[in-house]
């Protein structure tokens, strides 16, 4: 069977709709992940031992288990516990957000620990409390350093979001599968699907390096 790329124009609307869903999922998940990850990352370097331990367990559990299993836990497992179904979109962003949170937490922790101890000493000797020091001095500086790894995390999440196709969410990959049942052209369709993922990750990686340069310009020692 010869390749037939003439089908592409006809399938693009469906695939682009899927790509939009994929981007939505990744953006919302990483946003949730960033909030969780910032708090957990700060907890990881806290002086409070209990906080450190709890945060460590969360990070180890999430990073040590597959995202697909976590997704099934939320989508198939949780309903039996709470007695009602979890909508696929909610299940997807919950599982992905909680997953991303663990990876972001490690990024945030490394970012915080990369800031010179003298910064903390200077802030504390001015009378700032430890949480004020974190809020005004350490975190803003760490944030600049974690933008590149955070961008990588976003790219990883964008690709991993293809897993949600198994819970019938109409993301890019799922749309591709649907289109194939109509066109019987798996090679062509999956090639286009792969290329759309590639374009998205490429654009994001360019955006990340641009914002990196931008932030460097605004007063940053390195």
């Amino acid at each position: 069977m010869a390749l037939d790329f003439s089908i592409i124009p006809g399938i693009m609307p469906a695939l682009l709709a899927g790509a939009k869903m994929t981007i939505e999922l990744a953006v919302i998940s990483v946003a949730i992940g960033f909030v969780i990850g910032s708090l957990v990352g700060i907890a990881r370097v806290s002086q409070n031992r209990a906080l450190r331990v709890i945060a460590g367990i969360y990070v180890d559990f999430i990073r040590g288990t597959p995202l697909l299993v976590q997704l099934f836990l939320v989508y198939f497992g949780l309903p039996t516990l709470i007695g009602r179904p979890v909508p696929p979109f909610i299940a997807a962003i919950s599982a992905m957000g909680i997953n991303s949170g663990a990876y972001v937490a490690e990024i945030v922790r490394a970012g915080i620990q990369s800031i010179d101890r003298g910064q903390t000493e200077a802030a504390r000797s001015l009378g700032l409390t430890s949480s004020q020091t974190m809020q005004y001095i350490i975190f803003p500086q760490a944030f600049r350093r974690i933008i590149p790894p955070l961008g990588n995390e976003f790219i990883a999440m964008l690709k991993d979001s293809s897993l949600v196709s198994v819970i019938a969410l109409e993301d890019l990959l799922r749309k591709g599968q649907v289109v194939i049942t109509r066109t019987f052209r798996p090679f062509e369709v999956y090639t286009v699907v792969a290329l759309i993922y590639l374009v998205m990750t490429f654009v994001i990686s360019k955006l990340v390096s641009w914002s990196e340069r931008k932030l460097k310009a605004v007063g940053q020692i390195d």
Binding site: E121, A122, R124, S125, L126, G127, L128, Q141, G219, Q220
Partner: protein, 240 residues
Amino acid sequence: MIKTVGLRKSFGHNEVLHGIDATINPHEVVVVVGPSGSGKSTFLRCLNLLEKPTAGEIYFDGQLITAPGVNVNEIRREMGMVFQSFNLFPHLTVLDNIALAPKIVRHVSKDEAEETARDLLRKVGIADKESAYPQELSGGQQQRVAIARALAMKPMAMLFDEPTSALDPEMIGEVLDVMKALAVEGMTMVVVSHEMGFAREVADRVLFMDAGLIVEEGPPAQVLGDPKNPRTKAFLGKVL
């Protein structure tokens, strides 16, 4: 103003301060000298509890600040600290470096904090640099900003931890000049320094530390000019 009684500090099994009894009177400039590793920086850092003493007592303005339950943040805002490596906040402009702590710790209004910051920048001679970032300044300028930042909290005393040791020789003078002006105004100052000229000229008293103890103390003319202790003599013989 500051008094330590039997102050000891260990890092692990290594005791670096073996019981320091020192008094710093109001408006007094005390310069702490001694060989490196003698514990003088640790002593200074204990005074505002950046290092937690292992034993002994520290009184500040009549209050026992080593007592349990003391709010260290309230103590520290009354003691300005200047570091060897400046430790300015690289993500903030010079003006914000100075105005930040008064705003969030003392709840001074933004306008008032910035006005004070500008006054202090004039005082340390770099009024034109308020919107620069620290890394755009020379070392001497950065250290003067650091002094202004500490002064903005209107502290009762200032602690200087080798403030000129990281500076190129041609910049040392401008920082010492600011410190001299401060001394003339009557600021209580504890200065760890290798600048014997500064000690001789500005200090009311010199403490000579060696191996975690104060070995000799007195007016600079006596300690630096006519030391009694053999270890002071040996040290001064090397640095002078």
